[in-house]
Symmetry: D2
């Protein structure tokens, strides 16, 4: 249970951090889509470690191999199987934590759940699993692109450095211009400095990723439990280190009055719009055609380069030492993961919406 995401457009992943390989199976991608492998590779590059001085210096090539579901460059409607080899993993590095529960990792909880665990680099609980999500999400993105829907995520906060501006006031295309993926160049510099300082302190720090989805048609969403934003929220909360999700006005909306918060409808040509967008493009769990936007909170990751007290499997007090490389702040690399999960949700709901009206069947 829990290795698949989606109902019609579905991603299943398998694989552990230090197993032979990771895998991604994409089901339900409509037939006839010209699949550009280089675009999948590009997304893998955006996620991969070692891409800048502020991310972990681990080396993963993250080469994808498509095993099925594509014929003569086009999707055939059958499941697309992708394998990503775990080429350069050094298992021996992990013997020092083999029987120890690292603080705020999943070591203890996996042990309690399964009675056995692959301790090498966190096994299945490692964020390495998100490589398979990015591969699958890259296919969803190409499908959405063919339907005119696009999405962009960016870093809007690192520690207490937070972009004050609303996303509509920013030039989002600048986000990929710097290594922290913040569209405000000045703020980006500050964030990079902060992360670098945290890195030297052998510590980690959290951050927020904001994502904007443009051009979603109105009518996507499944009342009542599978509201569009509920599924987006689950998708984001399923990413490693995520602690919170808000869309539209979010937690700040709590402080508003209804008379301020309500978005007034108006018509522009044939298209219905709203004057404001506190709804975040979703009303009653169904898209209204405005931009969908949301924020995702990432905690500081648990792996730090410092000694920490903990327990081992025998219940004895032990010291867990930081060793090797670490990722002082994951949010720059989380940007493509957030986009991947968002693409999977929208792709799935786009397909679900095909059977809503009698006259369209």
């Amino acid at each position: 249970m829990g290795n698949s995401f989606g109902k019609l457009f579905k991603l299943t992943t398998f694989g552990e951090s230090h197993g032979k390989a990771l895998g991604a199976i994409v089901e339900g991608c409509p037939a006839g889509l010209e699949l550009d492998e280089s675009k999948i590779r590009l997304e893998m590059q955006r996620r991969k470690p070692g891409q800048s001085k502020i991310t972990t210096q681990r080396k993963e090539e993250d080469e994808i191999e498509i095993l099925s579901g594509v014929f003569e460059g086009k999707t055939t409607g059958t499941p697309i199987g992708i394998v990503i080899q775990n080429a350069d993993q050094k298992s021996k590095d992990y013997s020092h934590i083999a029987d120890k529960f690292r603080p705020s990792h999943a070591d203890y909880t996996y042990f309690e759940k399964y009675g056995i665990r692959d301790y090498r680099g966190g096994g299945r609980s490692s964020a390495r699993e998100t490589a398979a999500r990015v591969a699958g999400g890259a296919i969803a993105k190409q499908f959405l692109e063919a339907k005119g829907i696009s999405m962009q995520a960016f870093v809007s906060q690192v520690g207490d450095l937070s972009l004050e501006k609303n996303y509509t006031e920013l030039n989002l295309s600048l986000a990929e211009e710097n290594i922290v993926r913040c569209p405000d160049p000045e703020m980006a510099e500050k964030m990079i400095s902060l992360i670098d300082q945290v890195r030297l302190e052998r510590d980690t720090i959290g951050g927020v990723v904001t994502c904007v989805i443009k051009n979603t048609p109105p009518g996507l969403g499944e009342p009542v439990f599978d509201r569009l934003h509920a599924e987006l929220g689950k998708a984001m909360l399923s990413i490693n280190a995520v602690k919170g999700f808000e869309y539209g006005s979010g937690f700040d909306g709590v402080k508003m009055r209804g008379s301020q918060h309500n978005d007034t409808f108006f018509k522009e040509g044939e298209k219905v719009h709203t004057l404001t967008n506190h709804s975040g493009g979703i009303q009653g769990g169904i898209s209204n055609g405005e931009d969908i936007y949301f924020r995702v909170a990432f905690k500081p990751v648990a792996t730090i380069m410092q000694d920490q007290e903990s327990l081992n499997e025998a219940g004895e007090t032990v010291t867990v030492s930081g060793k090797g490389r670490h990722d002082p702040c994951v949010v720059p690399r989380a940007v493509p993961i957030v986009e991947a999960m968002a693409a999977l949700v929208i792709a799935d709901y786009l397909l679900l919406a095909k059977s809503n009206k009698l006259q369209e069947i």
Copy 2:
């Protein structure tokens, strides 16, 4: 799609605000549970409108009738069907909005999705549907109670009035002592005043509900997409008017360093605990046995007693007038709904965890 929640312990709801009745089907409740109907009724009372001056004065009796699944007072393992009549609904009240899209309601989006909608009181999109959730959740609660697991939600914020104290510093049993369901009596008074003022202004205001789940065994959660907190988040985000969810350190955790945020394990007798609980009782998506706690943000509800500009189905500009009764702040009544959804998630994951280890099968 979207009318069911849960995998093994599953709730399905049906019914519209002004249809004949609502229904809740609970599947997977283990056989042999002595079901106390009065406890279900108690939860219905906590949710029902008209219970105090600060909630809507609408009258709904919310009488439940159990049609199946219980024999001689005990669950039989077969689906428990519950019907809640919509006794005292006045459909005629809704003609004035029959073809109008109320701002920030689901009128427009349902119309776009289905091409037809039951405009009476919002139809299926109405928060009246949550009555069925509370009925179903009350069964989940009794199941969990039999396993020693309990949960309590309370109002921690209304507008900008926010409890500063952590839940561990509060006497949560006081929450049900006042009509706003805030466990700090002094703050409760302030909140009640604020809501009353908003009511007089014919406006609405948002709030936050915090929920604490106690005594969950370690090992509940389904990696990787169905992490326990991801499912809790989806459950909460599926409640009407919810805009955000955070658990443990949440959005504030973003500002911390890993060295501060990590929760140190220690042993007390035979039981493993953590010194702090920034993890919110969940690590790697799996419960660790500590308290699970989270916060849910509710926007100010869209129904206000003021004139608002909008569009009708023909695309013409129209005025939507507030009429009848309204709910100035939904969070007091949302408390039992949050608990119901939390109970459904934990019950489901408790069952899912029965098949994790070979030696336990």
Copy 3:
């Protein structure tokens, strides 16, 4: 688990033989369908007991009440909740078997599974549950009718009286002209005599229902595990007393050579057809546009009006006595149930097929 059928067009049932009521929830029926309640009632009449001398003389009115999902005569896309009261049940009749396991009923297995059971009339395991299926299937039928797809089932065998002719040689419209629902009037007479004789012997006898689905578009079916005929087979095998399913050439096809069995394609106007139809309208699990036909085997039902030796819950040898009314042969009443389940499968697969091709999304 197990109370729902279908993926997009989904039926959920609840209720026991002698509980307060049965229920059917239909999800995913496209919005905008004009629903004719009288057609649902007609199907209920076809299934209900007491309709002729060769079926059980029990009285069930089987009045349906639609509680949701229909507004001003049309489906709205929200779940259609239906309740069927168990009006005239006499629970006291069942005390004599309260702790006894009736031979070849589900008494023993339910007891083993749940440790508790509603012994009145078999509880959830009673074929009374199929009333809810017929109600749900009647909605699926109306949806299919709007798309030009129809289905007809009939009795093709009772005991060893078997129609020799292929369905294409019969006038299927004659099936509803006689009480055994066999389209061959002469054979119908013989079947009725046989059933009547079995009834007088206080015994029961089995039979076969054949079903033909016409005008299914090519392209319905979900490789590889959810092949169209696999889902049809599951649907049929889920009906009480069913022991076997075959489609197209079925068990007899085993004896053929490939060169005989293969169906040759040809073109008639713009439409592709096959000269023979051993495939039963399904190739590789996907419909090819020809008639879909299949046969369903029903065992003689277990309730007989004779004394039988058995065990009780305490493991003691006891006598189970036949009492009250019994159904000497269920196949005439099974005809609408088979159609209902077939309609649910085809409706579901019709919706699933909407997202196969990129250019149609």
Copy 4:
């Protein structure tokens, strides 16, 4: 949709006949199972082509590689990813049928469904996909073996050569002693002769596989739609070339009277048994602890070594010529596939049964 089978113990497959590789993902296998890879290889050998003169002479090595989910020889509870390379496939062989619809294959229906198809060897519709099922089923088998449950399938009919004896009168261990996998050596010889003759005629012939499952505990099965035999039936009908399924008395049971067909309970020591087993070990859709047995009908496969008339994608009449190697009768190789699917069903239902009773949670 349709690439996965099972609810808690779940198999997902991907891959086409002539793609790079096939894959099998097994989810939900309980943690702590010692997995013997050689047993998986043994099952692959039983299915693979070229194993005797009466099966296709195609060469497939069917080497499996486990990529995840196993650590130090034991399952970890995480998904077990397996890849099977398509080593020796000659794609060039298929140009002659690239745009032709082979009679009674899935060429036409895939084309109608997806608008595009991988024509090489049938692509996803090829029985090659069952190699992934056998790999996954071999894991289910090992899990069941650890719980004392075993299953054996064998060939009971080829063409009109049918074993008259009931399985209880046969020494099933003899089935693997001959190349047709029939436990009656004399009949096996006849079957082999018949298949050989059909092969020389460049034709194919059908057959029946019978399967017996021993030692299933009572209480497995999910009422009402997911009855144990309904799921078994679906599993079998999802195998290529299957046209029918019957369990227990099956189609022959139709002819019996209830008084003959009912299985009388008796007690032997502490265990409840039945004198006869027309129920096939399943009553009301739930196992009763007796042997579960069923029969699966396979049509003569469509690939014959003869010229056949057909259509191409343009709708023109064309000749399809038999070329290369063919499989005159698939049932000997279907035996391990039937067992694999049966093992998957029983494993899944064993896990589902863990949450039935309150006192066991």
